[in-house]
């Protein structure tokens, strides 16, 4: 089995990974993957995701080989992506791959006979991020089913967003998609949501939804998505969560504020100490979820 896209996973797959993560975090199960070697191939730079996988594997007793970026690797010498993947598959028991090329992980999974995990492919999918997001929602909300979730920020280019939308759709979420007009989620995703019968609302205004939702998932709006500095400056502050905003809203009990990190200024740091802020815990949950994913794919569970 591979983890390539939320669209290829079943609800059963997701639910059993969440259950296994719960057991790993609570310590009621102890898994051992010693003797296994996992290759972490990051064709695109990453700190958090690479560290998260690396620590997940090492905490299970496994070992890793890591390729960060491609400047010093054989890729720079002209070796094709396919050759790199095939060669590494001769050494490792599983491959974790991050690439700017969309569909790279799917292609990799077709040319090797060891499990492949997509750690982000361009603006397409980031399924392990979504799995840890769903786990965090389950933990904070006691259930993933029927949650009202706002997704805020860059909904057009963010892979975490695409994965998350399909992940939440499995659990019949009601979505509030909040973004500047030109960073709206792509039309085909809205069409998919319609086909799945998922209720969603689109808006440019965060404050109008703060008191409506169980979960708010904030993503970074990147400067390079704007034509110029002026357009960026005009928009960036209207997509910022501040302490006074959170405190003055009549939030739902158990309101959960999440962010895939890294954060720039989308959530001001004085929000961090509020009880609704769970984004650092979310990162820790990521390590547990990735332990569950790796152990399942290596067949040691």
């Amino acid at each position: 089995m591979d983890i390539i896209s939320m669209r290829s996973l079943s609800k059963d797959n997701v639910t059993s990974l969440i259950k296994l993560t719960e057991k790993i975090e609570s310590g009621s199960i102890s898994l051992d993957i010693s003797g296994h070697l996992v290759a972490l191939l990051f064709f695109e730079p990453s700190t958090r995701t690479a560290f998260s996988f690396d620590s997940a594997i090492k905490r299970l007793g496994g070992q890793t080989i890591i390729m960060q970026e491609t400047k010093s690797s054989s890729v720079q010498k002209g070796e094709s992506f396919a050759d790199t993947i095939k060669t590494v598959s001769q050494y490792a028991d599983a491959i974790v791959i991050r690439s700017a090329i969309e569909g790279a992980a799917r292609f990799a999974s077709e040319i090797v006979n060891i499990p492949v995990i997509n750690a982000g492919d361009g603006a397409n999918q980031h399924p392990t991020q979504t799995l840890l997001d769903l786990y965090t929602i389950k933990k904070q909300q006691k259930t993933v089913e029927n949650r009202k979730v706002a997704i805020v920020g860059d909904l057009r280019y963010g892979r975490a967003v695409y994965s998350l939308v399909y992940g939440l759709a499995m659990f019949n979420a009601e979505l509030y998609l909040i973004s500047p007009e030109h960073l709206k989620i792509r039309a085909y995703v809205r069409h998919d949501l319609d086909k799945m019968g998922i209720k969603y609302h689109e808006s440019e205004d965060i404050s109008a939804v703060l008191d409506k939702v169980d979960v708010m998932y904030v993503t970074r709006i990147q400067r390079e998505r704007f034509a110029g500095q002026y357009e960026y400056e005009k928009v960036k502050d209207s997509y910022q969560i501040t302490r006074s905003m959170v405190e003055s809203a009549s939030l739902k009990n158990n309101f959960t504020l999440l962010h895939p990190l890294p954060r720039v200024n989308e959530i001001t740091t004085d929000v961090d100490s509020l009880p609704c802020a769970h984004y650092f815990a979310q990162a820790k949950n990521g390590m547990y979820m990735r332990q569950a994913i790796i152990a399942s794919l290596l067949g040691v569970v």
Binding site: S80, F81, A82, G103, A104, F107, H191
Partner: protein
């Protein structure tokens, strides 16, 4: 009778009729018809059914299902006749298959199929209007893909 004068009958092979006007050259491209093939083409012929149409007759060549599928996006209204001894012995209407393999280029320039030696695969999610999803980058494309895209 007049039509026969314009495009001769063939003894055996394949006739693709009712191709939308102007699309016959695209069909030639898609089928990879080369210098050694004996073909007759007609463009902008009058058609009682469609007003104008193109037609192509290929001598001594029988198209496979895959080849027929490959022209389905540009010539959806076309009909295929297999000819034996000057007579049509089998007539089929072109249908868009459920999966389009190796027929289209993915319009997403960030898709792996545009940078690695991968055969493109699109799952057809709806036929009218057309909606197809790239199996690699997972993006969905509509009617515009058949008009603008080529092998």
């Amino acid at each position: 009778m007049i039509k026969e004068l314009k495009v001769d009958a063939i003894k055996c092979g394949t006739v693709i009729d009712h191709i939308p006007p102007g699309k016959v050259f695209k069909v030639i491209d898609l089928l990879g018809i080369g210098e050694n093939d004996q073909v007759m083409i007609g463009t902008n012929l009058s058609s009682p059914k469609h007003g104008r149409k193109d037609v192509i007759k290929i001598e001594n060549r029988y198209l496979s299902i895959e080849e027929i599928n490959s022209v389905s996006l540009v010539a959806r209204s076309a009909t295929i006749s297999i000819i034996e001894d000057f007579k049509p012995c089998k007539k089929t209407k072109i249908e868009i298959p459920d999966v389009l393999k190796g027929i289209l280029v993915c319009p997403n320039r960030h898709c792996v199929t545009n940078s690695e030696p991968v055969i493109t695969v699109f799952d057809v999610e709806a036929k009218d209007p057309l909606s197809i999803r790239c199996r690699y980058c997972e993006r969905v494309f509509g009617e515009e893909i058949g008009k603008a895209n080529s092998l």
